[in-house]
């Protein structure tokens, strides 16, 4: 494995002022190697998107407070960089694509302008050259009739086409890291598959590392090399995709997998994890998931928990990991219960 492109250690994001501050992300650490896809999985409100936005400092500056012990791109720290310095990183070394391609493209500017802008913001390129680049990238993301599309506005394109434009824009400067925040959630299933394939191909072409945020475990199975499961602002389990799917070692991961429709083909009613994600105000003790966990015992709520490595590259925050791992064969049974 090569040296990591992106290193994140102890990332924390809070909104508002203590003692009422909302801790959206806490103690998040991960690293990303060139050409690797890390999937960040979790329910709505688990802090996935906030994590992604915090990496490029794109959260509203007056309400969000970001802290980290390390945040480095190819060894260079991004902490404490000003807006101007960060703007050279954004869109060039680290690019982002978003969930809803309709609202994420500017409705008042042509596709060609928005693409060319991505090129021209990061180098002295003439308008004509930028337009040629824009055309080439559109071809690259397999948009038919690209020359005509350049002069069209986002509303004239279909949803899948718009997401292709977003991807083209993000890849215009051949970034080292692509952060994809639920890029397929707003698309229908066939288009979703095409977009995933496209991201996979481009990743292979450019050697880009991908941080892929999703709540769709089907998507994870398709594209991930590694998976980090988030719950209530923390990464609760991380490992190779096979480790997570075949050998879940956290009560929450176990719960998530047992909700998969494919695994419950014969169920009358699809299983769910009871309750909803908590809002995290201030410091808390023990495991945030304990109140909803099928494996929890009273100590889970009070003991301080740390990441523990249970297999090479497979870490979990669950103190009942051994029990959870033993229960995997009973997943179906549990789901029915």
């Amino acid at each position: 494995m090569t040296a990591p492109v992106l290193q994140v250690e102890n990332l924390g994001v809070s909104f508002g002022v203590e003692p009422n501050a909302l801790h959206a992300v806490r103690e998040v650490s991960f690293s990303l190697s060139a050409g690797e896809t890390l999937c960040l999985v979790g329910e709505s409100g688990s802090g996935k998107s906030v994590t992604a936005l915090a990496l490029l400092n794109l959260l509203p500056p007056r309400s969000a407070r970001i802290s980290a012990s390390r945040l480095a791109l190819e060894g260079r720290s991004l902490l404490g960089l000003g807006e101007r310095e960060l703007s050279h990183i954004r869109g060039k070394a680290i690019s982002m694509i978003f969930q809803d391609p309709m609202s994420s493209l500017n409705p008042a500017l042509t596709v060609g302008y928005q693409l060319a802008e991505a090129v021209r913001l990061h180098g002295p390129v003439s308008a004509a050259a930028a337009r040629r680049d824009a055309l080439a990238i559109l071809d690259k993301v397999r948009i038919p009739d690209a020359a005509r599309r350049l002069d069209e506005y986002p509303h004239q394109l279909s949803g899948g086409m718009r997401q292709r434009v977003m991807i083209a824009m993000a890849l215009a400067c051949r970034p080292r890291v692509l952060i994809a925040d639920e890029p397929t959630t707003a698309l229908d299933v066939t288009v979703q598959a095409q977009i995933l394939e496209l991201i996979g191909d481009l990743k292979a072409d450019f050697g880009t590392a991908v941080l892929f945020i999703t709540h769709d475990l089907g998507v994870v199975a398709e594209i991930a090399d590694r998976v980090a499961v988030m719950y209530a602002g923390r990464i609760v389990e991380e490992g190779e995709v096979s480790q997570i799917f075949d050998d879940p070692a956290h009560g929450y991961t176990h719960g998530l997998l047992s909700t998969l429709a494919v695994a419950n083909r014969h169920a009358q009613r699809l299983p769910e994890i009871p309750g909803s994600t908590p809002r995290i105000l201030g410091a808390d003790m023990g495991c945030s998931f304990a109140p909803r966990c099928a494996f929890a015992e009273p100590q889970c709520r009070t003991m301080e928990l740390h990441m523990a490595e249970i297999a090479p590259g497979h870490v979990t925050r669950c103190r009942r990991a051994a029990i959870v791992r033993g229960a995997k064969s009973e997943a179906g049974h549990l789901a029915h219960g």
């Binding site: 794109l58 982002m96 978003f98 809803d100 994420s104 500017n106 008042a108 500017l109 991505a118 913001l121």
Partner: protein, 313 residues
């Protein structure tokens, strides 16, 4: 586009027809004999009869309307009862000062208000934002004659930089016209800066919350570029609308400003016509304002696609 302009012009016909009828019946809605009213208290019966004949008041109402419309089609709005000059000529004379003042005021107000509104939105809920709002409310609240006389006192009476009052027509040179417009423009613009800045701020606040603003920042665009290219263009329609409303009301009635600065414009002409019960002139003003309003609204509507390509005509 042309089709849309055509349809829009067609749709103004009912509005204009209503205004035409209103203007026509204005004379007849007034209590008493219009001719006696126009002639005044000291008129002899012969004079009243002459006016009655001149205004075709002895004809049936339908014939009167027909004659009036035919005259209108020839741009003949009759003669002022007060000065006996053609109404069209009176309005044409007074049109230039008002139009020039409206244009200069709008330009100055937009140049001040749009940047202020953008900055206030960008720095929302900070001291800068509150400062802009206070400024806007102050400009809005201080009567224009107070500002006007203060400006005259400082810049004309004390410093002698600018003329105290009056208007120099364009025919006598652009320099003189501009000099005579500076003080009334500043006095009036302060009023409209508040209006436009507040709308700009509110619209920009909404736009800055949009996903595509985040996209622009994620691409590496800096603040100025995000504000001026990505946000302001999308905030265009409401801002242009309020500018249009402002321009229309500048054409329609700035009586106080015209009086303070002794500018012979449409506002004062209207006020005089109403006070003297100069009905033909009032009719003419009514029609002029109606046509101007319709035209300004059309122009505003036609600018929308420039800002939002989803609007197509």
């Amino acid at each position: 586009m042309l089709r849309y302009v055509g349809l829009r012009l067609l749709s103004t016909i009912p509005v204009l027809a209503f205004v035409l009828l209103l203007a026509f019946f204005l004379l007849h809605l007034a209590p008493g004999d219009p001719a006696a009213l126009i002639a005044g208290d000291s008129a002899t019966p012969a004079q009243v009869e002459a006016i009655r004949a001149q205004l075709h008041l002895n004809e049936p109402l339908s014939t009167q309307l027909w004659i009036w419309l035919i005259d209108l089609a020839h741009f003949d709005l009759g003669r002022s009862v007060f000065s006996n000059l053609p109404v069209t000529q009176l309005i044409a004379q007074r049109f230039e000062p008002t139009l020039m003042l409206a244009i200069s005021t709008t330009i100055l107000a937009v140049l001040l208000a749009v940047p202020l509104g953008v900055i206030a939105a960008y720095r929302a809920r900070t001291g800068i934002d509150r400062g802009v709002i206070v400024l806007a409310v102050a400009g809005y609240s201080v009567p224009v004659f107070v500002i006007g006389y203060c400006l005259i006192f400082v810049f004309a009476v004390q410093l002698h930089w600018l003329p105290v009052q009056g208007y120099k027509p364009l025919a006598e040179g652009l320099g003189g016209t501009l000099r005579s417009l500076v003080l009334p423009t500043v006095a009036l613009a302060l009023l409209y800066v508040g209006l436009i800045a507040r709308v700009t701020r509110a619209t920009m606040l909404e736009v800055l919350d949009e996903d595509y603003i985040r996209t622009a920042r994620a691409k590496g665009a800096l603040t100025l570029r995000v504000l001026c290219i990505h946000a302001l263009k999308n905030a265009g329609p409401p801002i242009v609308t309020v500018i249009g409303i402002g321009f229309a009301s500048l054409i329609g009635g700035v009586v106080v400003t015209e009086t303070v600065f002794n500018i012979p414009g449409l506002g004062r002409l209207t006020a005089e016509a109403v006070l003297r019960r100069d009905y033909p002139l009032v009719q003419g003003m009514l029609l002029t304002f109606a046509v101007m309003l319709v035209a300004i609204n059309l122009v505003v509507d036609l600018t929308y696609p420039l800002f939002d390509p989803r609007i197509r005509y």
